[in-house]
Symmetry: C2
Subunit: 299 residues, 2 copies
């Protein structure tokens, strides 16, 4: 079996594990209020690459974490991600009608329901981290709540979206773009990797910082690749409206650097990410493969 | 000094304590993203009766909790409440322009910012509960995260708002109204009292259930009184648009029972709430006074 086939099967197994975890932790569609619960399930289930949970699994393996614990932590991160997409698609934000090849939540249901879906998914994420036994001790688990809350909040993901809003129609410098994306997508991707680690044996401070650095590079690379794909790919391939960035006059790596240089930057970030894993040997195999998967993806 | 004057000064001291706690835990207005942080502060500071934090303080006193700890827990509950108001006022929900005598957040800023304000306030609430030392041990504190998350989520406050949405234009029975309000406002009011208790010495199971029952009655009474005030008071007195319920064709206790019977129901709930405190003697003084304060208020 080639390493690539082995990695593919690892990915599929983890994706199906996270899918069934999400199925189980989301309130059943027949529990009141039914329409809200159905809309929450619609927004979360049946789509997405589950990149953040995959990172949690890969980082968890490095720390020899229990897979079931990582599945819950990864599901919590994915719920935060899913809520941000639902709110981001609303008319007052990106006003998008297509997501993962299907109508967005507010199109399928209505705006008010989509608003509440996002709100309730965020609450559920924190409930998961507090409700299940995920770490060696409750103090570590409280650290996990704090880590996820900081990554989601005004100095993390939500803050990145606010910076994004203010940037529409402006030409940002590359450092300004980086500042935006480190918040908007980077914070949650870092949280995914670090939560995966926290589910396992504790790493020393230096090792923890290495994983953090890896995740920071990969988070940024993810966004650079996203910008390239938005500029180059078709709506059918992406499962969401392509070319939206240029249409909405949003600053992107492609608009700042051009396609070729953006690709070179993503590759540089991948190399930096891999370098951060040098000390971990075989334990970091899945993280290395994921770095390649994220940077070299076509959708 | 009459008991009433003593209670008034207790209320004022606690209100000013919660105000300064909120001032301190909200990101400073000059921290990036500035506009988001300014809007978060606008939405939270300088208004509101702070009923939920007051309940946390009163319940905390019963459990001999440290005031500084209760202030953080109460602030977290108030952040959840404030986020729900910001989202509730949005055009796709209640579409309201006035709150606490000032323009609502989306009117003063814009819709997208108001959406992110709500999202970020929710994250901040959970960050507070995880970041500060609030309880005797981290396991209790994790319980507090879970309690707040459940109260805020789809089977608590957000669920109550979904039920509210579906109820517009319908005539609900009194049990249906009760189901809606136990979720919409009741869940968070219960959480406030229970979090206050969790900051202090642990109560036995029966005592904890008594406080829960007290808070459940008071939460419902709060809503009944709200409905009466909305029907009877003026916009100037309320600091928010009066008569909205009837105008939006929302089912209320007033529409189901009439004003006189609604008042009688509120009084019955207050009596039930007080009865739940019977075993606590003087330790429950502030909870008793708060019950009166909530049911007999004029705004």
């Amino acid at each position: 079996m080639t390493p690539s086939a082995d990695f593919q099967s690892w990915v599929h197994a983890r994706q199906s594990c996270i899918e069934s975890t999400l199925q189980n932790v989301l309130p059943a569609p027949d529990i009141a209020p039914q329409r809200l619960h159905q809309a929450m399930r619609y927004a979360v289930l049946g789509g997405g690459k589950r990149v953040r949970p995959l990172l949690a699994f890969a980082a968890g393996e490095l720390a020899m974490a229990d897979t079931e614990r990582v599945a819950i932590a990864g599901a919590a991160v994915e719920l935060i991600h899913a809520y941000s997409l639902v709110h981001d698609d609303l008319p007052c934000m990106d006003d998008d009608v297509l997501r993962r090849g299907r109508p967005t939540c507010h199109v399928e249901y209505d705006e008010a329901t989509a608003l509440l879906v996002g709100d309730a998914l965020q609450s559920l994420a924190f409930q998961l981290i507090a409700e299940y036994r995920l770490a060696a001790d409750p103090a570590t688990q409280l650290e996990m709540v704090k880590l996820l809350a900081a990554a989601a909040g005004s100095r993390g993901m939500a803050g990145g979206q606010a910076i994004d809003l203010e940037a529409i129609g402006k030409a940002l410098s590359v450092p300004e773009l980086e500042f935006m994306h480190i918040h908007k997508t980077g914070a949650l991707i870092r949280a995914a990797a670090l939560l995966g680690v926290r589910c396992g044996n504790s790493l020393n401070e230096k090792e923890f910082a290495q994983i953090d650095h890896f995740a920071k590079c990969i988070g940024l690379a993810f966004q650079v690749v996203d910008d390239v794909l938005d500029a180059e790919a078709s709506t059918a391939t992406l499962g969401k409206t392509a070319g939206k960035d240029a249409q909405q006059n949003k600053p992107t790596y492609v608009s700042a650097l051009g396609v070729a240089e953006s690709k070179a930057f993503a590759e540089e970030l991948r190399q930096n990410a891999l370098k951060a894993l040098d000390g971990f040997g075989e334990r970091a195999l899945r993280l290395r493969q994921l770095a390649d998967f994220i940077v070299l993806r076509k959708f």
